[in-house]
Symmetry: C2
Subunit: 185 residues, 2 copies
């Protein structure tokens, strides 16, 4: 089990961290010992939409080798969905069995072509834009359709992360992680 | 309005981000235009409890000039609460009107002496340790006692951030931020 957490300039950090926290607990709490992950960016450093600076573990690495790729959102997704090299990089996740997005990260999965014929969701303010990429925009906290998992805005990433914990490790593990996160769920 | 977000090696990033997201929206969404913040660390880089790397905006800066200081938790708090230079640095927030912690960050506020005679809360797993620093450990999501605001584990930082948004900018602003975060609250 190998996860890529994609980060990029202008992202909303809580989109990323809300999914990162429960998913990485699969390993840190000892449930999936062979799991590992990378924080993958197109640039050497990443500055979020409010100035917070992260250093990725991998820069420009092709995403094809991962089991799950998680893409956060941010207002900047409205622009970067039209940036060829960035979307081309995201398209390298094509062979990955699971592709997930938080918030308006769904627009990026859409621009990369992964939502064709799929049900999906996003931040309430990005539903109109999302409609052009998918078959149906669903008003639901977490939506799973085949290999694609999308969720609502910002904090919905926590619910999606927990949903994936249950998918990969079962209900009891998910509940232990949820309680450790002191989350109502 | 000037906020210090304290970060340190071994912290749980979601503790930090859960408070950072709503509080920084006070500015990014245009409600408190004169607000600003720094991300303050004792070291040039910070690596969280699962390997994620952040670059602070200020290193070793005395905290006395801030209106609000927010301290995250993490398992490492059980050790670093005994590290003199680190706690001495945290004590520089003594004159700040508001001191806040997320999760086991309360142990650090406690070790710095700020919880004496106060009610406080923390992650459910850190309540026994917290009891030695404060008058009463309260089983409540967010606890405000004079200048000190503490909250439960990890995701409770979101609730504390929203609580502080309401305190500084009113209920309507808090509700707008909560909805933008797609959070049930």
């Amino acid at each position: 089990m190998k996860i890529a957490f994609v980060i990029f300039d202008g992202m909303t950090s809580l989109d990323f961290l809300g999914a990162y926290d429960p998913l990485t607990r699969l390993k840190s709490m000892g449930f999936l010992k062979n799991m590992n992950w990378e924080v993958c960016a197109p640039t050497e450093q990443v500055t979020d939409d409010r100035g917070l600076v992260f250093t990725p573990t991998q820069v420009g690495l092709s995403l094809e080798r991962f089991d799950l790729v998680v893409v956060p959102g941010g207002f900047v997704t409205r622009q970067i969905r039209y940036e060829g090299p960035f979307i081309h990089w995201l398209q390298s996740m094509e062979p990955c069995p699971f592709k997930a997005s938080v918030c308006s990260g769904a627009l990026l999965l859409g621009a990369a072509g992964f939502l064709k014929g799929r049900k999906a969701t996003t931040h309430p303010a990005a539903r109109v834009e999302l409609a052009e990429y998918c078959e149906k925009v669903v008003d639901q906290r977490v939506v799973e359709d085949g290999p694609v998992i999308t969720c609502g805005g910002v904090t919905a990433g926590i619910d999606m992360g927990l949903h994936l914990c249950e998918k990969f490790a079962g209900f009891d593990v998910k509940e232990k992680i949820r309680r450790q996160m002191d989350y109502y769920g």
